[in-house]
Symmetry: C2
Subunit: 421 residues, 2 copies
């Protein structure tokens, strides 16, 4: 039986007709390797921004349902154009939107989750030798309502299709060459990883590495779909393969270093040390849909019998969080509420650290040598994160990258629009 490869190309990879021709070449190349190919594409370059601007011109607060109707047209354009570009090279291709295939989602607009993917139409067309081009980012409910999948949507479409079709692999083509040991703009000797485990990739993604949305990695992990991240423009290397830890050879305790500058820290001071206070606090934040990342509760002070509770959230939620906390203040009987958005979370990630003691202490010592003050610490089995001053972030990443021996000999060539560190 022929193997199925799912390929996904993002908006920058199909930004204009020249780039679409380039994608057609990559697709045909995979077909010529003897594989069946299903291609998932996003909307062209700035299409989504353009559509959102028109929507805002008409309605300050457009309904999510109509936004989904509007935005789903973006992939409708790119799938048809890519199919035409493939046909122009003499290959049989056919495009389908989510409704035609049956990429069934829950009935939630703007951030729906995929429930099921029908494969009969896909299998029939693959059996006829066709290359299939599928609209990413979109779905359809059982009632025929059009939905979109929200952030990381097209990657998730691709991984879910690969899982449904039992594909050999899902290749995510993007504008970077793979997953790096850290942001190459901060550390020019950052090296590209040939392999990384789902777990490490998830921790790196949560820690601020922007290559893949955690959601698509989670889906890949759940269905054990090997995922390859590689460049649409520089195809001479194979990028980074993300797969189950059981299948990979672990050679270094730390796989990568990441910094996340988008967080803010809250400290709720002098919370009386009676049971249920933390539960009250965090359940109210959850009700407001505010995601909390790191949490630290100090030991209760003997004299006042109060705690300080510190936690971090995404900076975009500062106002909502302040509002929630102020409303809770009388009930919590707490003291002052402090906010600090001049912080950064610096993390080291690596499945190899599980069985090697001393990684954490090396991290803390390295930061201390650099004179960097650690404000909070959180750990998982394969990740250690330290909260530091934002101004110390670059210095911290460089020193950690160095001490854990992640640099390669060559200076990485970086393109694309990664977030500043």
């Amino acid at each position: 039986m022929r193997k199925i490869i799912v390929q996904k190309f993002g908006g920058t990879s199909v930004a204009d007709t020249e780039k679409i021709k380039n994608v057609a070449k990559i697709v045909i190349n995979e077909k010529n390797n003897g594989n069946d190919v299903v291609v998932v594409v996003s909307a062209m370059g700035h299409t989504t921004d353009y559509l959102v601007k028109m929507a805002k011109d008409l309605n300050n607060n457009p309904s999510n349902r109509e936004m989904d109707m509007l935005l789903s047209t973006g992939e409708g354009v790119s799938i048809a154009l890519l199919a035409m570009a493939i046909q122009a090279q003499g290959y049989d291709a056919v495009s389908f939107n989510a409704m035609q295939i049956g990429i069934v989602t829950e009935n939630v607009h703007s951030k729906a989750r995929i429930i099921d993917i029908k494969t009969d139409k896909l299998r029939k067309n693959l059996n006829e030798g066709k290359i299939i081009v599928v609209a990413g980012f979109q779905g359809v409910t059982e009632d025929g309502e059009i939905t979109t999948l929200g952030r990381g949507g097209s990657d998730t479409s691709a991984v879910a299709l690969a899982a449904a079709l039992n594909a050999e692999r899902c290749d995510i083509y993007t504008d970077v060459e793979g997953v790096y040991t850290t942001d190459p703009r901060v550390v020019p000797t950052a090296s590209r990883l040939d392999e990384i485990s789902y777990e490490e990739m998830l921790e790196l993604a949560h820690a601020g590495a922007n290559v893949l949305h955690p959601r698509s990695v989670e889906t890949a992990k759940q269905f054990n779909v090997p995922l390859r991240v590689r460049s649409s423009f520089k195809t001479d290397n194979l990028g980074t393969l993300i797969l189950g830890v059981d299948k990979m050879e672990i050679y270094k305790p730390v796989a990568g270093v990441a910094a996340d500058l988008s967080q803010a820290r809250f400290v709720v001071c002098d919370v009386p040390d009676v049971p249920g206070q933390a539960a009250k606090l965090f359940s109210n934040l959850a009700k407001q849909n505010i995601s909390v990342d790191m949490i630290i509760q100090s030991y209760a002070r003997k004299v006042s019998n109060t705690n300080d509770i510190a936690f971090t959230i995404d900076s975009s939620d500062i106002d909502k969080t302040l509002e929630t906390l102020n409303a809770l203040k009388p009930e919590l009987k707490c003291g002052e509420i402090q906010v600090n958005s001049e912080i950064a979370k610096v993390s080291i990630v690596g499945a190899g650290m599980i069985d090697r003691p001393g990684i954490a202490s090396t991290m803390f010592e390295t930061l201390a040598e650099q004179g960097i003050n650690i404000k909070m610490i959180s750990t998982s089995e394969i990740k250690i994160s330290c909260l530091v001053d934002k101004t110390d972030a670059q210095k911290a990443v460089k020193a950690l990258h160095d001490v854990f021996d992640l640099s390669c000999d060559e200076v990485a060539e970086v393109k694309g629009d990664l977030p500043d560190v």
Copy 2:
């Protein structure tokens, strides 16, 4: 039971967000009249041109299936934006594409005909008080393939929806104020008709008046849907109502004058006068999908026993027609083939001419007085067309408009991009 009004807005009426706001006002106004409203829209302004240009960049000869996939996204954008604009005014609106509703067509791409329209989703949403915005121009096959309806498609969508829903009326909003007695740019005193019959409108449309595609008028006639043509930008007059001849009062023998400059005349000389020659000729043209309009066969010449066969076709088919005729020449044993594209078909149309003799002779005399030579004549019950030199077309239209007393006192104000006469 509340009455249903179907409204249709073309591409120029939704060309930008300001114009979409204007359309929202017109829609809401009809809703406030106490009617249920279903709105059909085309793609925004130049969207289709833009999409076609990208397609041609990628493929000289894109498949009709993928072109339909591509072009159908145009209405996907305009329906969502119009629904948002209506919601911004505090009214409940919901948009649907053809696939969601079930506007079922035959399985032909780029010029499909509508077979059936499911009304359950429409009725359910109307009963909930919602204004429904529907994508025109597109359909879906029983197999879930996306089709488009070809020329006049959105008007046809609107009329077919009106028929399926038993609507009170279908209002076609456009960039002209209605149907005129002739092109107001040729005859500034041309008057807007308050009423015209389906049959007259059909003859006018076929005779070159570009207000409505004959296809939508035919559908309206078939299902007896009253059709109103009116301006999106100047809503202080009601435009022109098109309806069954039994319902209207006929006050003038001639309703309008039109000129069609897009035709070319062929003369096939010296065709031997044996049976089946004309059949052979025209069946071969039909096989090539060439529509023939006027046909004249001369009396057989006594000496040579041959005919001349003259006919007109659309100028865009000249090459294809020449090819077909040249291939047939040995079989037909005919003489020279002449082509003339410097011609115009000038027509007078009016249901009122049925019972009034002398209309044709008045037409011929009027043209003669102007020194205009008539090359061919064809007639129907409610239309007389004369083929003249292209350079005589304007003079002919003016004289006929005058002699049949069609001018109004005011000079018509004309906007929009009508074809040159």
